[in-house]
């Protein structure tokens, strides 16, 4: 006991202890399920991100210029490919129009409620990435749209390639995107995402539960035994549960194994989007209806 008092008389030791307790308290506060950031956080975020966006975009232009020079050769091939895609698109567009009309007629005939009709009417808000976190275990990104533009936590964020993450916190003019690489079952701060396979939306189902950083693949679990999922299938979000929108590309199946208990399958999914040198991202806004939360 006397030893302890002697230790406490040492000012440096005492301050260290106080600091440590404060640190644990702050961590505990931040780990609790906070609905909204506090106002100093909002103020700091808004002002720093306001300055950061002056730097990120010009740097991107300069880096992009040199990349473009490097890619000059590839443009011809890319053009050829785009022409093929455009042709396929115009064919599909006609088909889509017919199907949409048909769908509209049927929903009217079956007297869908307004909520059911609007459920999949997503809007895509275009946002600019302004900075990337310099913490290897938390690669959060800041975007320059916030709650003033209607952004809310848990909205999905995509690039043209595929899903990259979810909005984790919002301030009036900025939002933080937690990349999908932070997905972890055991983590207290992130949810799992329901997924399905493009082209077999009604038959396949799996849950994206975690991201394996060592192999840099997403782990999709709880796949039924009789699922016809095969390697190279495209994985998309299923929208079941109505938290995340449906139909966002995530990646492609790379391998299938029998899961932990032998009753279900697990697949490893290669992400479609890349996280380096991001510029524009899209925040997917799910239409808001009064009873949507229930």
């Amino acid at each position: 006991m006397i030893e302890l008092f002697k230790l406490m008389r040492n000012k440096r030791m005492f301050m260290l202890m106080i600091g440590f307790i404060l640190f644990i308290a702050v961590i505990g506060f931040s780990l609790s399920d906070r609905k909204e950031s506090t106002w100093p956080e909002k103020f700091l975020n808004d002002s720093v991100v306001y300055v950061q966006q002056w730097f990120y975009k010009p740097a991107g232009y300069i880096a992009g210029f040199f990349e473009d020079i490097g890619n000059l050769r590839l443009i011809y091939e890319e053009n050829e490919q785009l022409r093929l895609t455009a042709a396929a698109y115009s064919r599909d567009k006609i088909k889509y129009n017919f199907v949409e009309k048909e769908n509209e007629r049927l929903t009217d005939a079956l007297s869908f409620t307004e909520r059911q009709k609007q459920m999949y009417n997503y809007t895509y808000l275009i946002a600019q990435v302004v900075s990337v976190s310099n913490d290897a275990n938390n690669r959060a990104m800041k975007i320059n749209l916030g709650s003033e533009s209607g952004i809310k936590p848990n909205m999905a964020v995509t690039t043209i390639d595929g899903l990259i993450g979810l909005i984790s916190s919002v301030t009036p003019f900025t939002a933080t995107v937690t990349p999908i690489t932070e997905l972890d079952e055991a983590s207290p701060t992130f949810n799992s995402i329901a997924a399905t396979i493009l082209g077999r939306e009604n038959e396949s189902f799996g849950i994206l539960s975690s991201y394996n950083k060592e192999t840099s693949r997403l782990v999709m679990t709880k796949i039924a035994e009789n699922d016809k999922m095969t390697v190279t299938d495209t994985v998309i979000t299923s929208g079941l549960g109505n938290v995340y929108p449906r139909g966002l590309v995530i990646g492609s199946v790379e391998s299938l194994q029998v899961g932990d208990f032998g009753l279900t399958y697990t697949a490893s999914v290669k992400l479609a989007a890349s996280f380096d040198h991001l510029t524009e991202v899209f925040v997917v806004k799910v239409p808001e209806l009064e009873d949507a939360g229930q």
Partner: protein, 174 residues
């Protein structure tokens, strides 16, 4: 006045490492080479200015980083940056460190910083990777970036911090 300039410069570094460095690092290495320029300047301040200033700078800029890039926890960077800055100061503030000395101190401090941050996340079960993997994946590759930055900024940083200490010596001396 000089202190204001130091704070402005570190703030600029903070903004640059978030907004410009992602473009300079080649594509594909974005999650492996991670800049910690603010931390390096905190160590510089501990070496050439004093432990109390390093503690203050470390805690405030660490907390700034925690708030801006809030993902899982608040306060981890503030605590570790302040603590490492302070103890570097306790060990070495009286000796006038040479280039090699400063670089090796910064190297060790960076490894320590990244490792402690990793273990904090591990304790709260936010990451589930092994330490060996983290060491090879990002701690060692980003160490080289930090050392290169420290070498490039050695002369101006030393001049800046020593001038600041000379301007108000009564503050830090005990």
């Amino acid at each position: 006045m000089s202190m204001n300039r130091i704070i402005m410069l570190i703030l600029l570094l903070f903004i640059l490492e978030g907004a410009v460095m992602p473009w300079i690092i080649p594509e594909g290495l974005g999650s492996r080479i991670i800049p910690h320029f603010v931390f390096v300047s905190v160590i510089f301040s501990a070496l050439y200015s004093g432990r109390h200033q390093a503690l203050l700078l470390g805690v405030s800029f660490g907390f700034l980083q925690d708030i801006i890039y809030f993902g899982h926890l608040l306060g981890a960077h503030a605590f570790i940056m302040g603590l490492i800055g302070y103890f570097t100061g306790v060990l070495l503030e009286r000796r006038r460190a040479t280039v090699m000395m400063a670089l090796s101190i910064i190297g060790f401090a960076c490894i320590l910083y990244d490792s402690v941050i990793f273990f904090i996340y591990k304790v709260f079960r936010i990451t589930s990777e092994t330490y060996a993997w983290a060491l090879l994946n990002h701690i060692l590759p980003s160490l080289f970036l930090q050392l290169a930055f420290a070498l490039a900024c050695y002369v101006p940083a030393r001049r800046l911090f020593e001038a600041q200490t000379k301007a108000n010596p009564d503050k830090d001396g005990e």
